[in-house]
Subunit: 315 residues, 2 copies
């Protein structure tokens, strides 16, 4: 397949680097201000070096990438809330041109699911978005295989940064502020960690799961969300005395979406450590399935993007 | 899709009962000596009641089911070794007629993979077999999404009976013979438990994984297998003193297939308890994925069969 990749961050760059290994060509790459287009396929090394050295991927404009001759548009620009722009417009343009879309950007799926499905309906192209929920963990494809109406609940640890902080607080008996600073030093937490520690990122993933499970439009506004920033170290100590610990758990069940710190058994399935994620599916006929793995990271998320591209190429 | 189901044990019966819920019709069912065929779709309740009351599914012969007008043949007769008959012939007949095949029977995939792929190649039909490895756990579809050559190793707990016995031996400090008798009372172990406790069942699943990963023909003869029947209770006590326990681990890596009791951390990912299974995939770009769930059982395995049927119907 010929891919146009929007977004030249960790995910976009990894898609660019790995696409050839999966038998695909990247014919266009765009960041927010520039683009590189080559109908014969771009050289990943040239593009990434130029991005690194000059801060742009090529001499073209993003509109050139939108107009390129691709089979699949990969939307990997940063997630934005509300109108989910500019991601949504990239997706809309591709679908109007009857091309497929694969999203790593959560915005259009979490905040404008109705619009997204309407645009897909009017198009010969399809939209897939495995990478928007828990990176490398095959959540949506497993739900697709089971059938959405045979999955009765989904819960899990869906944010690696918050999980790293909670794991460290419990293991070392340290306070939130201390561990956050450490996580920032390690590059696990961003300079502004709000999105992760206040539960927004996990909530967006749960909203996407709810959209898929119930096939009606949820947005972030429908989620009940609390984060971990106010959690005292003493709460973790208290939990540990009882053989339990705290995890930021997202849950979609009975039509509701909730994210918040919850007590879980210390050695239990949900108590994954470090930046790992876990998704727990309750199914009608197949019992409970647990899938754990890396929920973020460039190559990990790119592998989910490329699994979606593979699905489209087999159709 | 119109299904012909071969085998009227736990899995075949569950496929029959659940197919309608997934939008499919079962037009033929066969056990080893009889068959029921109805081009308009069989009533699951009538067939299962007759099987229960009279020991046969209908008035026809198995050959009638083979000749029925189906889209997909579901092979759910008991796994046999060597020539993998009669399962292999059912599969061969369906493929010769350019029909699809979905297997729950491990025999043809583990023991005659080369013949199976050759028969598929010569047919317009496709062969899928998610249900042959770890029941409800989406192992093969996940490998398919990742790409077999990007999965560097697979290991896991692939036999629920052996795992139940090891879990109970460790938890209660009991000997193998004692726990086996208990497992037989509970219906978790069969009267002749050889297949499970000597590692054969887990080895067949690993052989199937090896066939998929390396795309060359392995059989049970290529697997290095040891079971748990000789494991003394004292070994588990010794392991526990060191924070570890014993699990029957199957592993496919570096071109080799091995099954045997191994020491694993007591609270580690591989130490699933009771009859649960776990599959651990090592991937090139996406790190380690763990998937745990029910590895056996009628409805659980049927849900994997019906996921395969769903994949075929979307092609």
């Amino acid at each position: 397949m010929k891919l146009a990749v929007f977004g030249a961050g960790a995910v976009g760059t990894s898609v660019l680097e790995l696409a050839g290994d999966y038998g695909h060509d990247v014919v266009a790459v765009a960041d927010s201000a520039s683009a590189a287009v080559d109908a014969d396929g771009l050289d990943p090394e040239v593009v990434t070096r130029r991005k690194h050295d000059e801060g742009q991927v090529g001499d073209g404009e993003p509109a050139d990438a939108l107009a390129a001759d691709y089979d699949v548009l990969v939307e990997a620009t940063p997630t934005t809330l509300g109108d989910a722009e500019p991601g949504f417009s990239h997706v809309g343009t591709a679908l109007e041109r009857d091309r497929h879309v694969v999203l790593a950007n959560k915005g259009p799926v979490a905040e404008r699911y109705g619009d997204l499905r309407a645009a897909e309906q009017a198009s010969a192209g399809s939209v897939l978005f495995e990478a928007t929920v828990a990176g490398a963990i095959p959540t949506l494809s497993t739900i697709g295989d089971l059938g959405a109406d045979r999955v009765t609940a989904v819960r899990g640890v869906l944010n690696g940064t918050a999980n790293f902080i909670l794991s460290r607080m419990a293991a070392e008996g340290l306070d939130y502020e201390h561990v956050l600073a450490e996580a920032q030093d390690l590059g696990v937490a961003e300079a502004d960690p709000t999105f992760d520690v206040e539960g927004t990122d996990a909530a967006l993933k749960c909203v996407i799961l709810a959209n898929v499970l119930y096939d009606r439009e949820y947005t972030l506004a429908d989620a009940e969300v609390s984060g971990i920033a106010d959690l005292p170290g003493s709460a973790l100590k208290l939990a540990a005395e009882d053989g339990r610990t705290v995890r930021l758990i997202g849950e979609v069940a009975d039509g509701t979406v909730r994210v918040g710190p919850r007590l879980v058994p210390e050695n239990g399935t949900l108590a994954v450590t470090g930046t790992r994620n876990i998704v727990q599916l309750e199914t009608e006929h197949a019992g409970r399935l647990n899938i754990s793995g890396r929920g973020a990271g460039g190559p990990e998320t790119a592998s989910a993007v490329l699994a979606d591209v593979g699905r489209l190429s087999r159709r």
